[in-house]
């Protein structure tokens, strides 16, 4: 039973990690707590919903949703944050702008589409389950794990192993110096926005599959997990977010299994507060904590 819980927790945690990766990447490189991020997640889920309703298979709908969410991210980042970046406004200004924007986007979407929960077409992925050494794993869960693994691997390769990744890391360290060295920081900001948005969009599709519930405010409910993961993992730390995501998934499943399912959000948040009190640089302590 415990083994089954752990497996479920890790599978859930993989989606949390996937969701939080783009969020922490955005902060690490662009120095923006971009709360619109939750909307990219919602947007990805809806793009996949509409495409599969139109008859497209999931193997097409998932990448299309990621690209769509990435494109939305590029546009919104340009509209909302270009001006603040140019005037070198403080972190709180950009946080407030994205906060206002995301409320308007959620509320606008709810007003347009209605707040009802939508479900993906049944039979989109096999409904079967595998029996692995006595552990039950559904096909949907396997798909989520595989897709999360591929996306995380691709991101790590991109950041660590390519010229683009080198530029991204340079910008994260010293944006002014990066600009002087001829890096096109505006273009790079758009690229990072696209990658982050695409990760969020893919996360939206996968979590939509997992819980089979798609609605305008789904991104907002996910943001709480995003906060827990990025702070516990260390703001801007990609590996930290990966580990913290898995950890949060396991903790939530165990809380729901052994305590009460209504407490799972509270337990995650308690961990966040405990980390802030004791290890503000994150559980793994690899990033510099940002002091005022």
């Amino acid at each position: 039973m415990l083994a089954q819980q752990l497996v479920n927790g890790i599978l859930l945690g993989a989606t949390y990690a996937l969701f939080a990766l783009g969020f922490t990447l955005m902060f690490g490189v662009l120095r923006v707590i971009n709360l619109v991020y939750g909307f990219y997640f919602t947007a990805g889920a809806f793009v996949a919903l509409w495409l599969t309703q139109a008859g497209f298979p999931l193997v097409l709908a998932l990448p299309a949703a990621a690209v769509g969410a990435g494109a939305i991210a590029v546009v919104l980042d340009a509209v909302l944050l270009t001006r603040l970046r140019r005037t070198k406004a403080d972190e709180l200004s950009s946080l407030m702008v994205t906060l206002g924007a995301v409320l308007a986007l959620y509320a606008g979407m709810a007003a347009w589409l209605g707040p009802d929960i939508r479900r993906l077409r049944p039979g989109l992925v096999g409904s079967g389950a595998l029996d692995l050494w006595g552990l039950r794993v559904t096909v949907a869960q396997l798909l989520i794990l595989a897709a999360s693994g591929v996306l995380v691997g691709a991101l790590l390769w991109l950041v660590r192993g390519t010229r683009l990744g080198l530029a991204i890391r340079a910008m994260a360290e010293k944006p002014d110096a990066a600009a002087l060295m001829g890096i096109n920081t505006a273009g790079l900001a758009a690229t990072v926005s696209f990658i982050s948005g695409a990760l969020a969009g893919a996360g939206g599709v996968l979590i939509g599959l997992n819980f089979n519930a798609i609605h305008p405010y789904m991104g907002e409910q996910m943001m709480l997990r995003g906060f827990v993961v990025v702070i516990v993992g260390g703001l801007g730390d990609i590996f930290g977010a990966l580990l913290a995501g898995l950890l949060l998934g396991v903790v939530e499943v165990l809380t729901a299994g052994y305590l009460a399912s209504g407490l799972k959000e509270a337990v995650g948040f308690a961990i966040l507060v405990a980390v802030l009190w004791t290890r503000p640089a994150g559980l793994f302590g690899r990033t510099d904590v940002r002091r005022a």
Binding site: M96, V97, G100, A101, A104, L276
Partner: protein, 280 residues
């Protein structure tokens, strides 16, 4: 005829209550913004005040004059727990932690039976008349005005302008930040207790993400040059949907856009006047 009059009175009273409560919430946002902090826990603090006061009235049967001040206890405790560790860190940590607090508390209200679950708590006696609400609002405005025109007010503004320079002037940055967060929790807690005892019902969704952002829009629309700006912003944003009835669905869209436009194009708000910072 009588029913029509009654309806009108009801509508009118709800708006009056909302003006008072939202004014207090705007001030609760103002005190932290005025010291350069961003807390998004005002709705959560309000919810804590509302739920704790409702329980004190409904299950303990305490009189309202005790319930009202006691409603600040839970918000202040949570403010210290969440704000305490973030005060020496960059402002984004407080913002994140306080948004998280709101989301978590909503989940708790929804899932704890003693708090009424999704149905919330109802049958709260209507002990907070508009007179009481506006008396509290006026008192809060007066206190913020007087404190604003003192060394404490100057310390807050210095902190917002440049925390490092403020510290080099001998201002205890952590202490001021903790003080404004506690003040914010007190104001929001009072607003929650007053609103719970003016409308007889509270539910888990009254204190989540949307109200938290709406409260920020009050302060940013009005401007934070003086405590009057946020109250003005709250009143404008409370009355607009009442005036344009067909518009009610898009109220949250408006609140969100107000924040975006205010930060980008109107950083000093509608009331750009900045209060003087010395006692007469």
């Amino acid at each position: 005829m009588a029913a029509w009059l009654g309806d009108l009175y009801w509508t009118y009273q709800n708006v009056v209550v909302a003006l008072g409560v939202n004014g207090l919430l705007a001030l609760s946002m103002y005190v932290v913004l005025a010291a350069g902090q961003l807390s998004l826990g005002q709705a959560a603090f309000m919810g804590l005040g509302a739920y704790s006061s409702a329980l004190m009235t409904l299950t303990l049967g305490w009189p309202f004059w005790i319930v009202l001040p006691a409603s600040c206890v839970a918000p202040v405790a949570f403010a210290l727990a969440v704000g305490g560790p973030t005060l020496r860190l960059s402002g984004v940590y407080l913002a994140i932690a306080t948004i998280g607090l709101g989301e978590v508390l909503r989940a708790v209200y929804l899932n704890v039976d003693a708090l009424g679950g999704a149905l919330g708590l109802s049958g709260i006696p209507e002990q907070a008349s508009p007179g009481v609400i506006f008396a509290v609002l006026a008192a809060a405005l007066a206190v913020l005005w007087l404190v604003g025109r003192s060394g404490t007010g100057r310390a807050m503004e210095a902190l917002r302008e440049d925390a490092t320079a403020a510290q080099a002037m001998g201002i205890d940055v952590g202490r001021v930040r903790l003080a404004v967060l506690v003040a914010s929790a007190v104001l929001a807690g009072l607003a929650g207790a007053l609103s719970a005892h003016a409308t007889d019902f509270i539910g888990p969704n009254d204190f989540g993400f949307e109200p938290a952002v709406t409260i920020l829009s009050f302060a940013l629309l009005g401007g934070i040059g003086s405590p009057f700006g946020p109250v003005l912003g709250a009143w404008v944003l409370t009355l607009l949907p009442e005036v344009f009835r067909g518009f009610a669905d898009l109220r949250l869209v408006l609140d969100g856009l107000v924040i975006v436009l205010a930060v980008l194009f109107l950083p000093r708000g509608l009331l750009a006047w900045r209060m003087p910072r010395k006692a007469a």
